[in-house]
């Protein structure tokens, strides 16, 4: 009799597990697509564009509801963002979606000179930010914020969940100048509805207080920070969580106020430790003359492995277990 591996024993693949939602977690389907479609009903100037990734950036929801306001530009990211600039110059408010790697790496010159320099209201929507795919470096935009932070005029938003995305989209449309949204797509966890929280562009928010540790986080790592804070309770560790969904311009005042005491401080980001949230916070701390140690939790300065997301998040320190371990180790 031939022996075969039972399905449960087969190795996990990246294609099988490409979601960062926990099993059984409350989620919301395609929050960006629905939010954009809704915002477009209120503002006739809103249009949507994509570069052959409509279905994979949730832009298809908008396209279905507003077919006459959706523009398919083909797999041509330079054209996508150049054309978005041209549309904005005629008074429209474009949301242009592709993967973060293509926006940040391939089309940078077009974002910079066609959109950011004339300060046009073009909203760049980047799918698969940081480590949210197991496809390896071709798809993992682990350095997108580092690339974009140096671009003048550009607002950078790293949302935590469906609540952040739904509330951010109309604010991005309403704000002057260009924005970059680190998109979470598909069935996106719904987390922040359980907190006294509303997204405000440019603002950091304290989601929970804590006497021993302060976790400063953005993006999906805020979800992990909240889970870690809860897990730390079992270890008699009281952790605060400060969510900083707007990376630039950065709400230094709120964050510095939280870093002022002698609590252990960590930053948590779904991004390389180079040029993202950690360095943004570190820069604010040094500029303010604060004598404060800050411990970074983030992706290493390396091209990452391919594989299943849960495996990779654990490997690179983004899992709740690894965060808890790091905090406890730091507390000694």
């Amino acid at each position: 009799m031939a022996t075969t591996l039972a399905p449960a024993n087969k190795p996990k693949t990246s294609a099988m597990i490409a979601s960062f939602a926990d099993p059984g977690q409350k989620t919301s389907p395609a929050p960006f697509g629905h939010a954009l479609a809704k915002a477009a009903e209120a503002d006739q100037r809103i249009v949507g564009l994509t570069a052959d990734l409509g279905k994979y950036t949730d832009m298809h929801i908008f396209a279905r509801q507003h077919p006459d306001r959706f523009f398919q530009m083909g797999m041509a990211e330079q054209l996508l963002f150049g054309a978005a600039a041209g549309m904005a110059q005629t008074g429209l408010i474009p949301f242009a979606s592709t993967y973060s790697v293509f926006a940040a790496r391939r089309a940078y010159d077009f974002l910079c000179l066609d959109i950011a320099e004339p300060n046009l209201n073009v909203n760049i929507v980047g799918g698969l930010p940081g480590l949210t795919t197991g496809y390896g470096p071709s798809h993992q935009a682990t350095e997108d914020m580092a690339i974009f932070r140096g671009m003048p005029n550009l607002t950078i938003v790293d949302p935590c969940d469906s609540v952040d995305i739904e509330q951010a989209v109309p604010q991005l449309a309403a704000s002057d100048g260009p924005t970059y949204l680190r998109l979470l797509r598909g069935n996106v966890p719904t987390v922040l509805d359980e907190y006294d929280y509303t997204f405000e562009l440019g603002k950091a928010k304290v989601l929970r207080g804590g006497t021993d540790v302060v976790l400063v986080s953005s993006g999906l790592m805020t979800m992990r920070a909240l889970q870690a804070a809860q897990a730390l309770e079992a270890h008699k560790v009281d952790a605060a969580v400060v969510h900083t969904p707007t990376i630039k311009p950065f709400d230094s005042a709120t964050v510095l106020a939280e870093l002022a005491g002698d609590r252990l401080a960590l930053t948590l980001e779904n991004h390389t430790v180079v040029g993202g949230l950690f360095e943004t916070v570190a820069s604010a701390v040094v500029t303010a003359g604060l004598n404060k140690r800050v411990v970074p939790i983030g992706l290493p300065d390396a091209f990452l492995d391919a594989g299943a997301l849960p495996t990779l998040h654990d490997r690179y320190g983004l899992s709740v277990a690894r965060i808890v371990g790091k905090v406890l180790a730091e507390l000694g």
Binding site: Q78, A83, G86
Partner: protein, 298 residues
């Protein structure tokens, strides 16, 4: 075709075809003259390109574009997008010729705090629609501009000035495909084919020919003309105008030009992207330019 508001728009040249050619030719002369003056102030500049492209710029501004000189942001205007930022010297001269910026301001070209920087930028200069200079951007922006205007029911046309060197950039061809795919019949591109780019002759740097066949293969209505012949240019632009409609074939006019055209001293000089002209030569250049035009009974 765009609607011409004759009460407030700067009127286009009227009369017979010959009258309109005459208007373009005279404007081209003044653009060349302005460019030489601007170059002299800085002692350098992209004078060769401005002289080569003067006939194209003059023809477009005198015979094709609808705009309001005193209201450069008027939303009903046709748009002229300069991809090749370093051609700004010629474009500024054309803007002055069109009454959008004062002729007296031209001498500030390239100076500190001038509205007329060496490389054209929309944030600096009235009538400058985009910030060119990083080549291969203009046609993509033009595609979006036409899409945006058409979406909002405007019949305004969009013109994009490119150079043959710029055709090295792959983004230009992304945009060429996009314009055809979206049937942007109100888009007219013009390519200044001076066969010269920064490192030398185009056919030695990166071969772009055969250009007619390439653009045709990308689905465009293609005309190739002597870009230093205002009659040929006017006929081509009129053909493009007749072809223009909200949903239709985009047009490209391939214009073969000569760097330094109109000034024999510069036409015969070793061709260079950034031409050096000695201090004593500027007046000689102006004299040669005037003499040449007088010989052709302007």
């Amino acid at each position: 075709m765009s609607t011409l508001d004759t009460t407030t728009s700067r009127p286009l040249a009227e009369g017979t075809f010959e009258d309109r050619v005459g208007a373009a030719t005279q404007a081209a002369y003044r653009i060349r003259h302005h460019a030489l003056n601007m170059g002299e102030v800085q002692g350098q500049g992209y004078v060769g390109q401005a002289l080569g492209a003067a006939d194209i710029l003059a023809t477009v501004y005198t015979s094709q574009l609808t705009f309001r000189a005193g209201e450069p942001d008027w939303e009903g205007r046709d748009r002229f997008l300069l991809s090749t930022g370093h051609y700004a010297i010629g474009h500024y001269a054309a803007l002055a010729e069109a009454g959008i910026i004062p002729v007296g301001e031209l001498e500030s070209y390239g100076s500190d705090d001038s509205r007329l920087p060496m490389s054209g930028m929309s944030t600096y200069t009235p009538g400058m629609e985009i910030s060119g200079g990083s080549l291969g951007h203009g046609l993509s922006i033009a595609v979006g501009t036409v899409l945006g205007l058409r979406h909002q029911g405007s019949g305004a046309r969009v013109f994009n000035f490119l150079s043959d060197g710029e055709l090295d950039e792959g983004s230009t061809w992304e945009a060429a495909m996009g314009a055809h795919h979206h049937q942007l019949g109100n888009l007219t591109a013009m390519v200044d084919i001076n066969a010269l780019q920064a490192d030398g002759r185009t056919d030695t740097v990166l071969r772009t020919e055969p250009l007619t066949e390439k653009w045709q293969a990308f689905g465009w209505y293609v005309q190739r003309v002597d870009g230093n012949n205002t009659a040929a240019l006017l006929e081509a632009f009129d053909n493009a105008a007749a072809n223009a409609k909200p949903h239709g074939q985009p047009s490209v006019i391939l214009c073969d030009t000569k760097v330094g055209r109109g000034v024999p001293l510069l036409e015969d000089r070793e061709k260079a992207h950034f031409m050096r002209i000695e201090e004593h030569e500027w007046q000689l250049c102006r004299d040669q330019l005037s003499n040449g035009y007088e010989r052709t009974a302007l």
